[in-house]
């Protein structure tokens, strides 16, 4: 193995059996609860039927659990070693969809492998954090301040974001950049540099506006004034808010949501599934699910802070932030606080790739916990 010396007296090398007991069972329970909420909502969305969504989502979640445990139990040094490779593989797939991707929902996002439609942009969310974690692991704190050391990580983030934006998938591109930004921040990049980027970014909005597709422009305009055009582009936003608000405190009851069951609610099994929950279970349901996510995020942050090597810290924090971005953007979107950008609610929305991506991410976070005491030299492979 290309791994370095172990300075800790506590021997971090664990047997597979020990690792298994080290798994965060609390976290697993939380994830199962969230996924369970998802199954219930998918069952309701199909008007009380396991088909077509709930049963398939259950199977995928089962596969996801297996995948998560596998990822968690693999030594973190393996992930450290292959971080760049994984990144480039994901990047290659992203280029591939651009070249030969099938057309779906008016955007090129999938590679059809027959049994699953692979969405490289989702894989990239994990791969980018892996690559950045590996990069910042090798950079000394004093070097972080040097602009030259930031060129490579910025390239790592901007290149895939640009490709995703071209698909066009505004939501995912934004998530990639925001997650990268969070990683940069945690890694110790100076405050003023962020200020500079934000100012530059605001200045670029009018220019960037030119490159947006008409439907993207319409969504932004609709977000800014949803009731302006209640039967046109604002319809989805407005109907979602009506569904949400009409749930009130206790909701209309399981499978009793009128907005969702009478099809006033768009995309109720995917992006807008949270609205359905809010309609049927009210504030109790929506705050409850938000609380579950908060616990998962807090768990992720704690794992990040607890890790003894920079790679695991950055990786866990980056992936946690990723999960936060999913949750925040989706919820803000369905509650009319954010334009409709097509970000699903992790573990709840129907969809294979996102579910698997999130499970892999959770596996990596758990791996960070299991291997928290393993130390990796700054230059990684070079030391041995």
């Amino acid at each position: 193995m290309a791994i370095d010396i172990f300075l800790s007296r506590r021997n971090p090398e664990l047997t597979l059996r020990q690792k298994f007991w080290q798994l965060n069972w609390g976290m697993v329970l939380l994830l199962c609860l969230i996924a369970g909420v998802g199954f219930a909502m998918l069952y309701s969305a199909a008007n009380g039927s396991m088909t077509p969504w709930a049963s398939r989502q259950m199977i995928r979640f089962g596969l996801g659990l297996v995948l998560m445990f596998t990822v968690a139990l693999i030594d973190i040094r393996f992930w450290f070693r292959y971080a760049y490779l994984i990144y480039f593989a994901a990047f290659a797939l992203l280029v591939a969809v651009e070249v030969m991707g099938t057309i779906g929902m008016g955007a090129q996002r999938w590679i059809d492998l027959g049994f699953i439609r692979l969405q490289p942009s989702e894989m990239m969310k994990v791969a980018l954090v892996l690559a950045l974690a590996r990069y910042f692991h090798g950079v000394a704190s004093e070097d972080i301040g040097r602009p030259t050391y930031l060129i490579l990580p910025i390239m790592l983030a901007v290149a895939p974001a640009g490709l995703v934006l071209k698909q066009p998938d505004l939501g995912t591109a934004g998530m990639l950049l925001l997650a990268a930004g969070a990683v940069f921040f945690a890694a110790g990049v100076r405050w003023w540099k962020f200020a500079l980027v934000i100012v530059a970014g605001l200045g670029a909005i009018p220019i960037g506006w030119q490159f947006l597709h008409d439907y993207q422009k319409a969504r932004v305009m609709t977000f800014l004034n949803p009731e302006n055009d209640p039967l046109g582009a604002g319809y989805h936003s407005l109907q979602a808010m009506i569904a949400f608000g009409s749930g009130a405190v206790t909701g209309k009851g399981f499978m009793q949501g009128t907005q969702s069951h009478l099809n006033f609610l768009p995309e109720k099994q995917t992006d807008f599934i949270f609205t359905m929950l809010a309609e049927e279970f009210g504030l109790v349901g929506s705050l409850g699910l938000l609380g579950l996510y908060f616990l998962v995020l807090a768990y992720g942050l704690a794992i990040s802070l607890r890790a003894r090597n920079q790679f695991a810290r950055v990786l866990a924090l980056g992936l946690t932030t990723n999960l936060f971005l999913y949750v925040f953007i989706n919820m803000a979107m369905v509650m009319g606080m954010f334009p409709v950008v097509g970000v699903p609610l992790p573990l709840v929305s129907y969809g294979g790739t996102v579910l698997l991506t999130v499970m892999i991410a959770m596996g990596l976070i758990m791996s960070c916990y299991i291997h928290r005491d393993i130390r990796i030299s700054r230059r990684g492979t070079a030391e041995v």
């Binding site: 009130a248 802070l305 920079q310 803000a332």
Partner: protein, 633 residues
Amino acid sequence: MLQKNEDNERQRAFTRRGLLLGGAQTLLLAGLAGRMYYLQVIESDRYKTLAEDNRINLRLLPPPRGRILDRFGLPLATNRQNFRVVLVREHAGDVEKVLMALSRLIELNEHDTKRVLREVSRKRGFVPVTVRENLTWDEVSRVEVNGPELPGVTIEMGQIRDYPYADSMAHVLGYVAAVAERDLTGDPLLELPGFRIGKNGIEQKYDLALRGNAGTSQIEVNAYGRVIRELNREEGKPGDELVLTVDGGLQTFVHQRLQGEKSASAVVMDIENGDVLALASVPSFDPNAFNIGLTYKQWNDLINDPLHPLTNKAIAGMYAPGSTFKMMVALAALKAGINPNQKVFCPGYMTLGRSRFHCWKRGGHGWVDMHEGIQHSCDVYFYDTSRKVGIDNIAAMANRFGLGEKVGIDLNGEKGGVIPTRDWKLANIGETWQGGETLVASIGQGFVLATPLQLATMAARIASGKQVTPRLTRGVRADAEPPEGEAAEAAVPDFAPLEVPPAHLKVIREAMDAVSNHPRGTAYRARIQEEGMELAGKTGTSQVRRITLAERAAGVTKNEQLPWRRRDHALFVSFAPVHKPRYCCAVVVEHGGGGSAVAAPIARDILLETQQRDPAGRRSLPIVAATQIVERG
């Protein structure tokens, strides 16, 4: 150790930044929670309302229109089941193929097919489109039997107005038709497709009462407007069942009796209570055609017909009453103190100034008193009398008997007629009254105009001595039979006396008795021979042309030789039985010729039939107070 220290330093920095990041995320999540609170607690009522508005549609249930019954409960206007074929596109698949198959079973013209194809393409797939209405039983069963070959085709049942008496009741009942733009009042019921409102006659006058109140059905719809289920249903109140004064059997008889004439009308009334027992006008029309919908040609034929089949001539036809007006002159004379036995000599004409006014009898009647004046209808007697009385006194008497203004029957379109006075002429013609005009008016010619309904009212008042006012509606049908012993007949109208001395009326009645029962009376040939049913009447023949001096010299042309339009109107007013009057009747035959020859026999047949049926003597349908009826227009 160096690296370890450095690493510890790095971990501290990371922890700081990590906690900051975590704090920021927590704040943002708290923002989400705040938004949830805002939407689901503070604004929830608004969104609840919006959600209900989204899913609930209110649908109006048209109430069944109230039936119209004759005085004995015979249905005159009812609702018949209307079977229609409807097609639902999403079940039909290939619409054209289904229509082809359908056209082999029921009659479908090209116009229908095109309309269906157009409607189907415009509407959503689940919206039923009416293919054809008014299917016969035969057609219904043919469609039902072939159901499997007709996907998406169903038979729906609606209601359509039905008039079993067709054209014989048309002018009393009127008809219903689709709501026109100008009929809209904001009542959503009127905007329902296929809703019909009364357009004429009783149907129009009592439309509001007959219409009833709409029910509502709350239905749940999905985002595409498809009906999911009914949430709540409030049945409407069906329209009132209206009971008329008309005797359906008698009406049919009267109508058929008039059918022999080109254009005629008749009114039969109960002189006690003003009940109109029959009111007919020919030619007529079939009101059933109006709810099915008239073609352009049918409508044009109706409105351009020179005989005006749409006009109810019994209330809207104004005719010079001719000699039927002479009773008014006689009563005015009696009131003025003229002795009825005072004789006037009739040489066949009377000269006033340089004009000569002729009696209908060329050789004259010789000496006649009032009784004979009426019995023989001597014009000169009335010329002479009217000069003594004056036009204004005659007019005042005529007004008292219901002439000169609307009698106020519950039908729209009633005309008031004309009873001229000096003031009237000055105001309406702009000239002063000429003495000769009084003479012309005294024989019911010139300016004098009256409707058959007014003439019937006049007869009723002569016979009863009371201010009888005609009515067509008795009231709303009572839901339950009234308890035994209580008056089944609600509120027999209490008419005020006429304030004409009974002795005066007796003179007139005896003269009218003589008209039809004295061998030398003008209507003796049209008398009723059945014991106790004899009628009393007065003939009238009103000119519609001026007879020139030259023509008179050469001999007045016989009516039969004139073109129809220039022939005289034939009139007859009468009541029966003569000694205990109960029924009265007025008949006007347009351009019929002589009153005694044409109108009197019709009136005789009608009054005989009326007395034999004796509608006033039979128990009629119980009703509730007539005041409950709401009128429209």
